[in-house]
Structures are given as C-alpha cells and as structure tokens.
C-alpha cells in the first residue's frame, strides 16, 4: 500500500525523465478518485502506471502519436478492469515509441524518454516510459506491451524486471493493435514479485479476445530454495562473437550461479535464430499496415488541413499524423502483402516463423525446462545513436523477438552493471509455463547481485 501523496511525490521526482505523459495533477486527482472506489484485493493501493497504447477510461490513450493526440477511449482494456478489481490504482499513462514501434522511446510524438541513470542514453523501448518510471522508483510496477521485446528490452536497459507472458495468457482487448499475432501486454516491475503479482492479476480468459486462451488466471508459485531438478539450456546463437563483453561477463556469472544453485546447464541450439529479425520485420509491419488503416481522420483523432476530397483527407491526416518510423513500417507492410509479393515475403515469413517456434519446441521436448540468454546484445545506447539507422535499431531486439514469434513467455531480470549501466539476463519458458519461469526468476533474483559491476 502506497499513499497517494507518496506516489505523487515519487512521480514528481521522475518528472525530468519525460516518462509520464499524463500531467501530474491529473494523475493525483484520478488516484484520489480511484482510491475512494478501489476494492480490497491482492494489489490493494498499488499504483500501476500504464503504457499509452492501453485503453483506459481515466486518461487519454494516444499511443505516443499525433494521430491520436487527446483521444479518450470510451472503454477500458480488460487488463485495466482486472487491475482495478485487484485493488490497484492506475497512475497515469507512460511514454512509448509511436504505436509501440521502436526500441528506444525516441519515436514518440511527445518527446523522448531519458534513461534513469544516464539522461544522454535511451531507456529502450517501446515501453521505455513504463520501464524508466519503475526503475526511477516512481511506481512499483507498470504495464507495457510487447510485439518484439518492447517490455523486456527496456526493462533490461533500465535494470528492472520485465515479463512478457505467453501469447494468449493476457487479453489484448483494449491494447491498441500493432502486430496482432505478436502483441501481448507485459509487466515492468521493481522486483520479480511485483511484476508477477501484476501479471497474475491481469491474466486469464476473456470472451472479448478470441485469441486469449480459455485458461484460469495464472497462480503465483512459491519461490524455491534452489534450482535442483531444473535443466537450463544455453542457446549458442544468443552468444555471438560480437556480443558486448560486459553482457557476456554478466551472463557467464549467472551461468555459474545456476550450476551452484543445482540446475543442470546444457548447451543447446536454436538454428533458425538468425532469421528472427527479418521474419519479424515482415510479419509485424504487414499486420501493422492493416491495423493502422483505421486512423484516417474520418471518425476520431485530428484531421489535418482542409478536406478537398476524401483521398486528400487520408493523405494529409496519415502523412502528418504518423511519424517517420510508423510510415516506414506501413509502407513495408503494404509492400509485403501486395499481390505478387505476398508469397515471396509474407507466406515465407510465416513458414520461417513456424520453424522458429519449432526450434524452441525441439529443445523443450528434449528435457530442457528453461533457456537462459542475454536480454539485449548491449547495454543502453546513446540517444540519437541509432535513429538514423533503422536496421541497427531493429537489432536491439535480436534476443527478445524470438519469444514473440514463438508465442512463448520470457522474463528479464537485472544481472549486474557495466560502467554503471544495467545488464539484463533473460529466461525463456515453454508456452504457459510462466510458473516455472518465475520459480527460477525468484531464485536467481535472490542469488544474483543485480546492481554489482561485473
């Protein structure tokens, strides 16, 4: 239970990060109102910030985009309804790359978010606002969303815990769609427990989302004493020769600890890993080009310029309303779905996606319980470093995007620092085995000095 005054003060303390999009006064007023109505529950009084692409009744939902500036949703996401039912308070909307497209939170129409320990660096993205706020201690947890690593990558950059659940574990109803077959709401938390408690509260079947699995809400596991009986695979494709040396050192330390904790550690291979980024950058933009077609200036959102005819309305609204990265992905997506290119790109990418998923099943079917990998190839990079090179930016998600393509759960937790910058380590689990992933995470969290220099 955190008092509203305390939350207001911690949020104010993080104001310089540009992580929170909602004006502080609006958040405070809403928190007071919500607290008066909030039921008792497992998250009673817990302030949870929410990424700007998840619909809330309380604040605007603009997806970090001009095209939805000031948009108020007439309904709220299922995840928000469940958070409230568990007693949590919605503590404002957080900055993100426009429509969750980006890995640095630099592609927001509302300015970039700073890294909490080094303002010249990016917090990662696209859920950079959520990760930065949690890392700054402003809130214990925040909702983000993932399409290719948008929770785990910024959580890793910011030195906190980030979880992407299995596709279908959490309802997508009210999550503004980017790549529907990949999108999943995820959680940033100060600790494994904070993140896991929030995830447990928002999980479970939802008749409003046909892709949400017909399963009971997931149960929090008890943290085990050690990892005896766990077989943990180390996929060699996630430790390439050019891996950042600091990241490698931190991961090697964890691998030693895993053995110390009684886990059996095994080298494994996921041979199609190299194709994950190109596969992702066909499927996600294809779906995005369709999902973002609705922002046409006809029904909601701003219209730009005069309206000589409907074609000009579309062109000016979408041309001015979307930023460069979103326009780039819409163009790519439109191209790969076009007649004559569909088979060469989209259909082949779907086949590759199936092979990537099969890689994971092969490993998990052969007795491996979990995989351990670095969460990102480098620590947080400098602002502006990759904005001119989209492909370099895309490669920041190289270790996270596979879980989205395969639909499996993933978790990042801090495993040390290099020159003061956090390094994240990733656990990957078979679909719907979040509980096993969390058992290992609880144990590692206790054993790994997450803030030490390595």
């Amino acid at each position: 239970m955190t008092s509203i005054a305390e939350t207001a003060s911690t949020l104010a303390g993080a104001a310089s990060l540009n992580a929170l999009l909602t004006p502080l006064s609006e958040v405070t007023a809403s928190l007071t109102e919500q607290a008066a109505r909030a039921p008792a529950g497992p998250l009673a009084g817990m302030p949870v910030a929410v990424k700007d692409n998840i619909c809330t009744l309380e604040y605007t939902t603009s997806c970090g985009s001009r095209i939805l500036e000031g948009y108020r949703s007439p309904f709220e996401a299922t995840a928000i309804t469940r958070l409230k039912a568990a007693g949590a308070l919605i503590a404002g909307k957080t900055n993100c790359d426009e429509f969750a497209m980006g890995s640095s939170t630099e592609h927001s129409a509302f300015g970039r978010t700073m890294h909490p320990t080094d303002p010249s660096r990016v917090p990662g993205g696209s859920s950079g606002g959520s990760a930065a706020l949690v890392a700054a201690g402003a809130v214990p947890a925040a909702l983000g969303s993932e399409t290719g690593g948008s929770v785990r990558q910024p959580a890793s950059f910011c030195g906190i815990v980030g979880i992407k659940p299995t596709y279908g574990r959490v309802s997508r109803y009210g999550l503004v769609a980017f790549g529907s077959s990949l999108d999943q709401i995820g959680v940033c938390g100060r600790t494994v427990s904070d993140a896991a408690r929030v995830l447990a509260a928002i999980s479970g079947r939802d008749p409003m989302d046909s892709t949400c699995e017909d399963r009971d809400p997931f149960q929090l596991p008890a943290p085990p004493e050690n990892l005896q009986g766990f077989v943990i695979g180390i996929p060699k494709e996630y430790f390439p020769p050019d891996l950042d040396p600091g990241v490698r050192r931190a991961c090697e330390r964890v691998i030693r600890l895993l053995k110390d904790l009684g886990a059996a550690v095994r080298d494994v291979s996921l041979p199609h890993t190299a194709y994950a980024i190109p596969t992702y950058y066909i499927i996600a933009p294809a779906e995005a080009s369709s999902n973002l077609a609705r922002y046409d200036g006809v029904r909601y959102g701003p219209r730009f310029n005069g309206v000589p005819d409907v074609r000009a309305l579309y062109q000016s609204t979408r041309g001015k309303g979307f930023g460069a990265e979103v326009r780039r992905r819409i163009l790519v997506g439109t191209y790969v779905l076009s007649a004559g290119y569909y088979d060469a790109y989209y259909r082949r990418a779907q086949r590759m996606r199936a092979l990537i998923a099969q890689d994971f099943r092969n490993v998990f079917d052969r007795g491996v319980d979990l995989l351990f990998t670095p969460s990102t190839p480098t620590p947080a990079f400098k602002a502006g470093e990759k904005t001119g090179d989209p492909v370099a930016m895309y490669l920041a998600d190289i270790f996270t995007v596979t879980a989205n393509l395969a639909g499996i759960p993933g978790l990042t937790l801090p495993i040390g620092r290099v020159d003061g910058l956090p390094i994240g380590g990733q656990l990957l689990a078979p679909a719907f085995l979040e509980d096993e992933m969390l058992e290992a995470a609880f144990t590692l969290e206790r054993a790994v000095p997450g803030t030490d220099e390595v």
């Binding site: 997806c63 109803y173 046909s210 077609a293 609705r294 006809v298 409907v310």
Partner: protein, 475 residues
C-alpha cells in the same frame, strides 16, 4: 457469327441474426443513424472481434441447402481497402480457405430448361457501413449501423448464358435461402446484393472473353436490364473492332445505363491476409448435423411432391412453392379437408391476390378456406358467391364461412318455386333474346343462366338453372 454471353454471379445475402457478425450490436433495419454501434463495429482502437456463432450456423445451413461441402476448419481474412464507411480500413471476410465450396443449385433456365449452377464457394463476412451523399449538403454522411452486419457471399461459376438465366438463378437462390430461413433476401433493405461478372465470346469458342464486373444491381428487375446493357455494350465494342477493358461497371438505374467506375475508385489489390485477431473458424460436426436437420424440404423437391402427391400441374406447383409460407398454407388447406386442385386454384387466385394487397398478410385461415371450398363442392354456395364470402372473411377476420354466407344471403337456392320465379323474371325482361333463342340461337342459354344468377344475386343453384330455362323456352 453470333455471340454467346457468359455470366457469373456473386451474391451477398444478409444472414438473419439479431446481432452483428463480430459484436453484440443489433442488426435491426431502420434505426436512427449510428445508434446500433459499439467500439468493435466502430473500429475503435483496441477493440477486437468475436464471432457470432449463430451467424455461422445460418451460413452452414445455407451451404447445406446449396449442396456445398462445408469445411470444418476455415480461415478469416482481412480485405484491406480505404473507404470512409469502412471503419477499420479492412473488412473481415474469408479468402483462401472459405467456409464452404463445391455446391450446386438447380434452376429452370428460360432457354435451356432444367439446369444447375455451380456454387464455387460460400464464405462469411461483415458488411461495411453506408455513405449517404444526399443528407448533408456538400458533405458525405456516414451511418455505421450496417457496419458488421453478417453476410454470406455466394459465388457461382461462369455458368449463365443469358441475363434471363442469371435472373432465374437469382430467383431460385432467393427461394432456397428463404426456405432454409437463413435470410430475408430483401433487396430493398439491402439484405441481398448482386455483383455480376460478364463476358461475351463467339459461339463455339471455349476460352472466356475479357470480363467486366457489374456492380450496384439492387433489384431483381434491374438484374436483366443491367446485364443486357453490359452484354450489348461488349458486343457493340467488339463488333466495332474494340477491346474489352477489365473494368468495374456501375449500373445506374435512373439513367438506365452502365458506366465504368472511375479508376481512382478501384482498388484491385486488397492485400488479403489471415485475420490475426481470430483463430481458425472451427465448425463443430454437430452443427452440420443440426444444419441438415434444420433444413426444410427445399423448393425443387417440394414442387415435385406437389405434382405427384396432389396431382397438380407443374405450373401450379411452381407458383405455390415459390414462397414457403404460401406452400405451407396450401398444404394446411388440403389437410383441413379441401380437394387439392380447387385448393390450389383458390390459393393462386383469391389468397395470393389478397396477400399481395395486404403486404403478404394471409387474412383467412387455411381451415376456413377449406370449409369454404367444401361449401362450394356440396353446392351450398356458388363459386361467385364463395368469392364474396372469402372477401367478407378476409375483411372481418371472424366467422365461419357458412354463417357468413347465410348472413349475406348467399346460400344457394335449389327450391323449384324460387328458381322458377327468377327464370320467369329474366325471360320476361329479355323478349328479344327469347325470340332469337326460339329461332334456334341456342348458344344464348349461358346468357340466360348468367342473368338468372345475377337476378338471384348468386343464390340460384347454377347446376339447376339451365334445365329450367330450357323447359320454359320449350327447348
């Protein structure tokens, strides 16, 4: 050398559900604009579709009625295009793996007799909204009440050889879908819409000519007209040495013309891809069994049965079976005791005429009609008198036909005294005709009988009048 016309049809029929295809909004026709809408059918950010199972059950039933193979697993796909009344910028439809394929529908071609059209596919999809161009000056108004209304699209092969055949198929399709109770097929309410692919080729050629798509045909009367216009246009173009462009043609009923859609309006590449918001559509096998069970006897079988079981001429069977309600009415009348042929005559005559004048309402119960037919048969009332009784029953809604006939004084009189009186009166009133008859012009007999019926106000027993007239005239 003459030309052969080749036509294929794509028909959209609205499935008869209370709620929309992917949300719970009402499908009621005629609601104030934008009142039957929600985040899902408005395409608001974050909303997701969920499938209306009943719409799928109806589509399965339609597919079975069209003898299609229903696929237990099919895939929803997005059809992407920009239009102001398409709120998501895509329509959820089916593309590579439709719900049903490979069906057929028997119909009677005006030229070739009994033939069958192939049903290439039947798939489910959602409707778009409506753009209203004449409501707000210089602006287009958008009504999204129709957005998300469930449709089945039924696609035929290039099977029709004339606009008349295309129309005959459509009537047969409407008949079957109404029988199966899957759609109202009401063109005026937009619950049945037709697009046609038209091409022509020289007789004897087997390859298809370049086709055009004719859209915007929204009445049965216009089907033949629009297709004839397009066929004639194509033939004229080719005979003048021109080429057919693969255009979309719009039918303009007011101008009675087809014109090419502006190419800017055309959007040929719909960028179909599997709908990621919906898992594959899995039809439980039980739904197929239930669909079969829910199918009534279909028109073709019923026509045949009417001919054999009731001994009706094919023409009568065709008229009666056109509407399931009328055919049911006929059968109830027969079950209630009427003879089949008189019952058929009554239904095709008085009953249909009355129903037509009353927007389809059947005002006389089949039981009362059966009783009335019996009264005619046993001579209690004459046929003309029975028509008056029918009209009275229809207007009042109450009353046993015999009681009404009595009240109206229409019970036939077989009493010799009364009959003689009326005959005397008629003969006295027509001395010229009497003279002519006596000179041998015996074909005047029906005239006298008619006059007697008139004087008696239909009460005279027409079977007894001729002999009385002859007797009086010494014939």
């Amino acid at each position: 050398m003459s030309w052969e016309t080749v036509i294929g049809l794509e028909t959209h029929v609205q499935l008869r559900t209370r709620s929309k295809m992917f949300c719970g909004c009402s499908t009621a026709f005629g609601a104030p604009p934008n009142t039957n809408v929600c985040p899902v059918c408005l395409g608001l950010p974050g909303a997701l579709p969920t499938v209306n199972g009943y719409a799928i059950q109806l589509a399965v039933r339609a597919a079975l009625a069209l003898r299609c193979q229903v696929h237990l697993r099919s895939i929803f796909a997005r059809k992407n295009y920009f239009y102001p009344d398409l709120p998501k910028g895509y329509q959820i439809s089916q593309y590579e793996e439709p719900l049903a394929t490979d069906g057929q529908l028997a119909y009677t071609s005006p030229e070739r007799g009994a033939v069958s059209a192939t049903i290439v596919r039947l798939h489910v999809e959602e409707d778009a909204g409506k753009s209203v161009h004449d409501r707000v000056p210089r602006s287009t108004a958008i009504d999204l009440n129709r957005s998300g209304v469930p449709l089945a699209e039924i696609v035929t092969g290039p099977d029709f050889r004339s606009p008349q055949e295309a129309r005959a198929y459509l009537l047969a399709l409407k008949e079957v879908l109404e029988y199966a109770d899957v759609s109202d097929c009401d063109l005026e309410k937009g619950s049945l819409r037709v697009d046609a692919n038209v091409s022509v080729r020289r007789v004897g050629e087997t390859a298809l000519g370049t086709k055009t798509e004719v859209k915007n045909i929204n009445s049965f009367a216009f089907v033949e007209k629009a297709l004839t216009l397009e066929r004639d246009r194509q033939i004229a173009t080719l005979e003048a040495g021109g080429r057919i462009e693969q255009h979309t043609m719009l039918f303009d009923a007011k101008a009675n013309a087809v014109r090419p859609q502006r190419t800017k309006e055309e959007s040929k590449d719909y960028r179909y891809f599997p709908e990621p918001d919906l898992p594959p559509l899995v039809v439980p096998e039980q739904w197929i069994a239930e669909g079969h069970a829910a199918l009534p006897e279909l028109p073709a079988a019923r026509r045949e049965r009417f001919a054999t079981q009731y001994g009706l001429p094919a023409q009568d069977a065709a008229v009666l079976v056109q509407s399931r309600v009328i055919a049911d009415y006929f059968e109830t009348t027969v079950t209630a005791g009427a003879d089949a042929k008189p019952a058929a005559n009554w239904v095709m005559g008085e009953v249909l005429a009355d129903a037509k004048a009353r927007a389809g309402t059947l005002r006389v119960t089949p039981e009362r009609l059966a009783r009335l037919i019996e009264l005619v048969k046993d001579g209690t009332v004459s046929h003309p008198a029975a028509k008056q009784v029918f009209a009275a029953m229809a207007d009042n809604g109450l009353g046993d036909p015999h009681a009404i006939a009595e009240r109206l004084g229409l019970i036939q009189v077989a009493d010799a005294g009364a009959l003689t009186g009326w005959v005397e009166e008629v003969l006295a009133g027509h001395p010229t005709e009497v003279a002519r008859y006596r000179k041998g012009e015996t074909k005047l007999l029906p005239f006298f009988v008619g006059q007697v019926m008139k004087v008696s106000k239909g009460k005279a027993d027409p079977t007894r009048v001729p002999s009385l007239v002859k007797e009086r005239l010494g014939g």
